[in-house]
Amino acid sequence: MSDTFLLIALSTISTGLILGAVFALVAAGVTIVYGCIWLPNASNGQIFLLAALVAWSLTANHDVPSALAICLVLAAGIPVAWAVEAVLIRRFYDVPDRNIAYFVMTLGITQILSGVFSITYGLWSDQFSIPPMIDGITFIGLFPMPNNRILVLAIAAAILAALFALLRKHPYGRALRAVFQNREAAALRGVNVRAIYRLSFILGTLTIFAGGLLFASAYSFDLSAAWTMSVTAFAIMIIGGPGSVLGALVIGMVFGFTQAIVSVFASPTIANFSYLGAMLLILLIKPSGLFSR
């Protein structure tokens, strides 16, 4: 009991917190974009993996320090998201049933990206990891917690807090929430709906990028992470309620801890299975999700 149990408990809590924060970030990115543009991003897992793999390339092949690599990838995300919005996303803004078109389109993007990854990165390695941003270990009682993971957790918490602050306080965030609730009314009040659409797509994509980068700097990963992440993010979005960042945060944390606890006893596949089951249940009982207004 005592010491071993405490060690396992602390390690489960730390894994749960980090996984939960990453899940919450990615799901928040997906849910903001869905709530605003009606774009259910089925390729979120591949985008998550794209950020992680590019950061891996920078650190492994070009000896860029991890922290700098992460910043570079995030910065590169802005023009990429902008270009994708201009080429693929914008043309459907006036289509009434666009969510299904977007859904299929992002499934197509998933197919393209997973093909690209498997004939490039898949041939180079099957496990990827990024060197820690900072070294050292802090002891919490007997439990050794790498400083790097503490930093990852702090950054994730900071990004989530910033996201909340942006949505609550900043005029842009308020306009974004106005578009969430009623786009006609928002347009009548002088909100530039198309600009908000573009902003939210870029914001959501960057949030998914951040999730991928933080996950990659805390854990080693392989190419199957993409599919798992896609399923998890969709499950979180549906259960939490599409468009609800609070729902993404709460359910993301619940899923992170579920995964951490289940992994102690059994294979994480069982956790994935339970996400799918929970999503089906919510779809059938309350499709608007638990945290919808």
Binding site: I100, F103, Q111, L283
Partner: protein, 326 residues
């Protein structure tokens, strides 16, 4: 309101029946044709659901897999004849497929598509997990060809392709008969607006479930014919990518037209066989095609070339409004 089938459908069916003999000189081309014919059966069935009823069944390949595995189990473990096992397996698959369509009674559009994607993911995991029945990821190989009943020997070679052609042609004619019947018109009205259809006295629940039952029969027929023809099945033979590819054939050819999916399957199904060494490229190519179809020709080849007049705009509000109901 004519209930006659267009001549083009009869001509297409006849051409399909002749093709096996035209391609019979070369086993390789004949095999490519056979795969295309199976995909015609699948695409025609999915068209009934996606094109005419407006539901996007991404678990279609999973239903085909249920029928295929059920048939294989009856034939290989219990020694049934292919011709007895297949109808049983197809019926079982169709009943399960109908049950999996129940969420469609509450969900529409994206939400049903997402639900069907989850169901497909669960089915794929189940195919891998129940390895006693499916042999897991290793798959089932050395599948016997369909027997000839009282005669010696089995259906093989051009005979098998002709069998596939018979089912493909029959599938096309059956779907066009359905579409010209009262049921077909009801299905279209359900697609356009199921609330309105309900107020007009159409039994929406019955229509949707019937569409799923018939569509699942097509999935099962394709699955049962696929397994002995290719000689190998694994959970990958019936996964999400297969469902998406069938969807792409329907959308690429032209959803809601009879011949569109046939043309889509005829063009797209041979690609993997022709690009055998580049099978990684195949998935990427299909991904590019999905995006191209959605952006450039949402009505598909047939809808694009033969129906120049724009369809009437939908009755729902242009932004959100009525369409935002899940």
């Amino acid at each position: 309101m004519t209930s006659r089938i267009e001549p083009s459908i009869w001509i297409t069916s006849l051409v399909i029946l002749v093709l096996p003999f035209a391609f019979g000189f070369n086993r390789y081309y004949a095999f490519v044709l056979g795969i295309a014919l199976i995909n015609i059966v699948w695409a025609t069935g999915m068209n009934l659901l996606y094109g005419f009823t407006g539901l996007m069944p991404l678990m279609f390949a999973g239903v085909a897999g249920i029928s295929a595995y059920a048939m294989l189990n009856l034939v290989m473990e219990h020694g049934w004849s292919f011709w007895v096992a297949s109808p049983v397996a197809i019926l079982a698959g169709a009943l399960i497929g109908t049950a999996l369509g129940i969420p469609a009674l509450r969900l529409r559009g994206f939400y049903f598509a997402l639900c069907s994607l989850v169901i497909q993911a669960v089915l794929t995991l189940a195919f891998i997990y129940f390895s006693g029945l499916t042999n897991g990821d290793i798959g089932i190989s050395r599948i016997p060809l369909p027997d000839l009943g009282p005669f010696k020997g089995s259906v093989s070679g051009v005979g098998y392709e002709f069998l596939l052609a018979v089912f493909a042609a029959a599938g096309i004619i059956i779907v066009s008969l359905i579409m010209h019947s009262q049921l077909g018109r009801k299905l279209i009205s359900v697609r356009e607006d199921d609330v309105l259809a309900d107020t007009l006295g159409i039994d929406v629940v019955r229509c949707k479930l019937l569409a799923f039952f018939i569509g699942s029969i097509f999935a099962g027929v394709g699955g049962v014919l696929y397994a002995p023809y290719v000689g190998f099945v694994s959970p990958r033979s019936f996964d999400l990518l297969v469902s998406l590819n069938i969807w792409l054939m329907v959308a690429f050819g032209g959803r809601g037209t009879i011949l569109g999916p046939v043309i889509g399957a005829a063009i797209l199904a041979p690609i993997p066989s022709l690009l055998q060494e580049l099978y990684m490229i195949k998935d990427m190519l299909y991904g590019v095609l999905i995006i191209a179809v959605i952006i450039l020709m949402p009505r598909g080849i047939v809808g694009y070339s033969f129906r120049k007049t724009p369809q009437a705009p939908l009755a729902t509000a242009p932004h959100g409004g009525a369409a935002s109901r899940p």
